[in-house]
Symmetry: C2
Subunit: 210 residues, 2 copies
């Protein structure tokens, strides 16, 4: 019966949050808590979708699993004492503290990644060094109870890996089958090692400006 807290904040990326949610909500007895600095409808990236956060940070203090999605809004929170304090607090008692994409920068800013292997969106990976983490170019990185996933869509893979740790391989496979996760992207351009170099550089520049 895991209690799962997902942090939402202004300009979060929807799939970062919804990917792991869609997997982890299927754990038997899963209870979801959508937490934000101010509860209500939270606008994602450019405000084209709003997700409901039902609870205030201070009202959620002992989740079993913490999920910190990334998004264009992470930078604005890197010195937010209230959000970082909440992350430190829930991390004390969590079974798993997790992030997707630039959510790991928030874990880093909270001091949670010191000396740990961790990942992030490929274009922001090196920034993890600022927080004493060891940037690791893998899709899902476990280091003790801290689990970080690469950019946006990697949260689905992380969710499945976590489901296996929580409930066993067979449960995780049943969830994978339930969400028919048999990915067949029409292109093989999902990582900087595979995409055309010109595309990688163009996107890196665009993201640096954003």
């Amino acid at each position: 019966m895991p209690e799962i807290a997902v942090l939402l904040y202004d300009r979060v990326t929807a799939l970062d949050a919804v990917g792991p949610y869609e997997v982890l909500q299927r754990l038997p007895g899963a209870r979801l808590r959508w937490v934000a600095p101010e509860p209500g409808a939270i606008g994602t990236d450019e405000g084209k979708l709003r997700l409901m956060a039902g609870e205030r940070l201070e009202d959620v203090d002992r989740p079993d699993i913490v999920v910190v999605p990334g998004g264009f809004g992470t930078d604005a929170l890197l010195d937010d004492a209230r959000v970082l304090g909440w992350l430190r607090r829930v991390h004390e008692t969590s079974r798993w503290t997790t992030s997707v994409c630039t959510g790991s920068l928030l874990l880093g800013a909270a001091g949670i990644l010191k000396g740990l292997r961790a990942t992030c969106h490929w274009a922001q990976l090196e920034r993890l060094r600022e927080y004493g983490a060891l940037p690791t170019s893998e899709r899902v990185v476990f280091d003790g109870k801290v689990v970080t996933a690469a950019g946006v869509s990697a949260g689905i893979d992380m969710g499945l890996a976590l489901a296996a740790r929580e409930g066993g391989d067979e449960l995780a496979q049943a969830i994978q089958l339930g969400i028919e996760y048999d990915p067949q992207p029409p292109f093989d351009a999902g990582s900087p090692r595979k995409a055309p170099a010109a595309l990688v550089e163009a996107l890196r520049k665009r993201l640096a400006r954003a």
Copy 2:
């Protein structure tokens, strides 16, 4: 500048909607319209997440791209004249009419799939015959301007295929790289052809009861 309408309704599956959204919102100038019978916070599957629908069906009449996600709530709408009427209306002028998972049953009930190849969640695929469609066990199926995707997570692959038709392969690849969609599921159990047979049968039974 495509206008993209995503249908939301009680007990929709979040990833069915958010997967295509996360890709298509990145099309240059994309305008998103989240449409529901009654606007407001829409509860997904078991109510563990709510997505905001900003607009009423009657207020959205000429979207370029229509996205119909599936979910446990689709069955309740299969004879809903208002929803089916809206689907027929927007399909008249859409550039693409699309679905994910059991969303294709709604397209079928609206009469849109007659004689067309289409797909659905694997466990519900044969039901498409009731609507005169040709059930097609592929991840993303294009038939004219109607595009259907398999279960839940297949909407991401559909989004990328559609992005390529809308803006070219290079744009779709840039989006794929942006959301770091380089899937690495920890198991290979995402389709009934790959998962252990006992798992497939158990899930088929459970979904039939649901």
